[in-house]
Symmetry: C2
Subunit: 126 residues, 2 copies
């Protein structure tokens, strides 16, 4: 895999999800794809379960790509995930196997929070 | 910049921070480096202020690199940030300028949270 290929796979992953093109989405995945969300300790194993996880994911969501960084057999995506209740930021680490299929997805959803006051003198707010 | 160079700069960024080697850390940065944390809307502008932000960052912290994904003039780092009160996950997007200096840092700190129950049938927990 080249970096360009890994970026293309990452882009297709989100574009097929947004299009609800679940057959094409599934074709990007390895049979034994492993999905993990370290923040919630949720895990999904295997292509069928992972396509279902996305297909049945609750709500009227839309996703757009903010940035892709890709190198060799890995990519990271920064996305905006919009639902009726607002927009969240998603960051996904995608690992590709030797055939270019996505074999592992590690998903992060950083939420807004109030910064500690003990570093307030070192920053501005925007 | 090649992907290997961007990865090396990203690695040096965290290694010099961990070593409190602030002169070497600062030499990795562009004069007008811009740091932003979208979750807190904190911002730091310029090398001097950004070195100070790190040098004076409260607490006895230690950082180790879990993963670097780098391509062209960009890198993403996944780190573990340990303090007396536990270990946090950090994800930083680093943009390099044409001379290989870090010109922009976008920093995310995803925290643990409880997943919505409406997708519980689609996942296992670990």
């Amino acid at each position: 895999m080249t970096a360009i290929d890994a970026a293309s796979v990452a882009r297709a992953y989100w574009e097929t999800a947004e299009a609800r093109a679940w057959k094409a989405f599934g074709e990007l995945l390895a049979d034994d794809v492993l999905y993990e969300c370290p923040q919630t300790r949720e895990r999904v194993r295997g292509r069928e379960a992972y396509v279902r996880f996305n297909r049945e994911f609750p709500g009227d969501w839309h996703v757009s790509i903010e940035r892709i960084v890709a190198g060799d057999d890995r990519a990271v995506t920064w996305t905006s995930f919009r639902t009726g209740s607002g927009t969240e930021t998603g960051i996904a680490f995608l690992d590709l196997d030797a055939t270019g299929k996505i074999s592992r997805i590690t998903d992060f959803w950083p939420e807004p929070y109030e910064p500690p006051t003990n570093r307030a003198h070192l920053v501005e707010r925007y």
